[in-house]
Symmetry: C2
Subunit: 349 residues, 2 copies
């Protein structure tokens, strides 16, 4: 299997290196062959290639079976014009490869409950996935307009775009607890009304899945009040952006959370949801768990290696249970990025 | 002073009645004259007048100095066509009276900290106001389109619309801790770029106010991680809808939170942010604090009665400190809506 690694900026290189080490350990233990190719994205690519998503990077991803991404962005590029901002690389990658389904699992770890801003009784038992539509809505719709006197963005969704993401959510729910929560603002938005209609149509094809509709404002409350009530949450691009970041606070560490950006075939881009954290870059303080668990998602979704994926997930959980933490987590014995990764690899041997 | 009361649906009538009793106590103690006029809105108005915001209601509000609203909505009208839904009454009221500035204060009460889903150390010291733009953006922009194959909404802001809400926020910050947090999605949206530019321009006129910009996804995290870091948060309509509902979870009870919807003169519409809670309507279980504190906001903003407003706020705090709660709050002695209101009035005498 060919994997393109896009380390990116800030702590991206450190955490992707950790994930690569874990994948190498998996290759050894389960006798797979993984080939790693490296390419530039984000600020790093702007510095070396003059653009956030160079053609070489697109070419490398095109021939890969999956992509492992670190993180992009940093103060160095903050004053750049829009087209030369690191995030543009990320947005262009999503669009280029038609990665319309962004999966963000949120799972609470017993060992980390004390680190959550939420009380343990609200956090415990939390285990859901946000399925965020990633290539439509306000992020990419035309027309977009800006003068010094007004500005306009457009929120467009086609039936096809909604159908495929809703199908992804239903299919995922079938492999989990069998419940889909569709989030919209159907009391205000036309696009949400169409969204809700399509969910209602689609649910007939999944009689085994329970469906609920909830308004985005109510969802923002419910995520805090009772996160364990969710299984699969499906929503449009911008609502997904806001709710998944809100949800990331539940578990007690952003650094633990992986994500996958998928399309209809096996290909996918996998990345931790944390940012580039330029303030701690290069200091061995970064939590590699988000990247390592993203690699596990890659094994499961792109390579059909469910046992291997589970082995990584169990290893991560065991290391936490043993009380080994990284600097972002409070309590436990604090290890460096490499030392913590080594503990995960020990568990895998 | 003439006050139009719009009780609305569900628990709306009970909580507005409680607020009216408190205002009557204020009138007596401070020797004011308040005249109360009643009119229909929401589901109640659909039932009696065939529309959610009847002309008589508009007329009554037009001649009033301020409006006290309960809440709208309920399962009875859920299947109605869009134009005959209770929320349409609310949206039409905002637009009709050009109520562009929605203020939602979020303040933690010592007595309620244990009721919050958040740990006390995250909640305590929380005291901020969300200033939400209320008459622009995706809620009201044209074109809006929907066929069975696609749907589109438009997010438009004019310079003037942004300037006036940003001014409101700066002015409010001056009367508080002197900090404005502007929330946008400037890395993606044209409307957010204009928003951010205007905040940057405006801040020159308020050199005494500290300004920060934060992306809406980061704001959704920060609200949970460190709510006490905020003073005044200003944002566009839909972001404000989502973030203010998220923020409402911080304090431990939605039932406690008031709101004001204002324009350039003294006139305003005041309402608790909780919904109509049809499941407990008419049972004397509703928490009237949100409505009572909304009445306090009315005294302060529409009538220039800061001392009277403070008297209500202190009374509410004292009743909580004395351990008198309503059914939605956990712990303390649980009183009925009327009995709890009577305690507040006792404090005022
Ligand atoms: C960097 C930004 C454009 C991006 C987004 O809004 O999608 C990020 O917040 C994310 O969620 O991956
Ligand atoms: C009822 C609904 C249209 C309304 C809104 O979205 O503005 C409500 O959620 C609110 O926040 O007042």
């Amino acid at each position: 299997k060919a994997i393109t690694v896009l380390p990116g900026d800030g702590i991206g290189p450190e955490v992707t290196a950790a994930a690569v080490h874990v994948l190498q350990a998996i290759a050894k233990r389960f006798q797979h062959e993984f080939e790693f190719h490296y390419a530039a994205i984000g600020g790093a690519a702007i510095d070396t290639h003059g653009q956030p998503l160079p053609d070489e990077t697109i070419a490398s991803c095109s021939t890969a079976d999956a992509v492992l991404l670190g993180s992009v962005g940093g103060p160095k590029w903050d004053a750049n014009p829009p087209e030369l901002r690191p995030e543009k690389g990320l947005l262009a990658l999503r669009k280029q490869f038609n990665l319309y389904a962004n999966l963000r699992p949120v799972k609470s770890y017993k060992a980390l409950e004390s680190a959550s801003p939420l009380k343990a009784e609200h956090v415990s038992g939390t285990d859901f996935v946000i399925v965020r539509e990633l290539t439509g809505g306000l992020y990419f719709s035309e027309p977009r307009k800006k003068t010094s006197d007004m500005a306009a963005d457009t929120l467009v969704y086609t039936r096809k775009e909604i159908e495929r993401i809703v199908d992804s959510a239903f299919q995922l729910a079938r492999t989990r607890k069998g419940k889909v929560t569709s989030v919209d603002k159907a009391n205000v938005l036309a696009s949400s009304k169409l969204w809700r209609e399509i969910v209602e149509e689609k649910k007939k094809g999944y009689p085994d899945v329970e469906v609920e509709h909830i308004l985005v404002d109510a969802a923002a409350m419910q995520l805090i009040r009772e996160p364990s009530s969710f299984d699969v949450i499906v929503t449009e691009n911008l609502f997904g952006d806001i709710l998944s970041d809100e949800a990331s606070m539940i578990t007690g560490s952003l650094g633990m959370l992986p994500s996958a950006s998928l399309r209809d075939d096996e290909f996918g881009v996998y990345e931790p949801i944390h940012g580039s954290a330029p303030d701690i870059a290069g200091q061995g303080k970064a939590n590699p768990a988000g990247a390592i668990l993203s690699a596990a998602m890659m094994l499961r979704h792109s390579f059909g290696m469910a046992v291997e994926a589970q082995a990584i997930e169990t290893a991560v959980e065991n290391v936490l249970e043993d009380g080994y933490f990284t600097a972002d987590l409070h309590g436990g014995r604090i290890l460096s990025t490499d030392a913590w990764t080594a503990k995960v690899i020990e568990e895998l041997d």
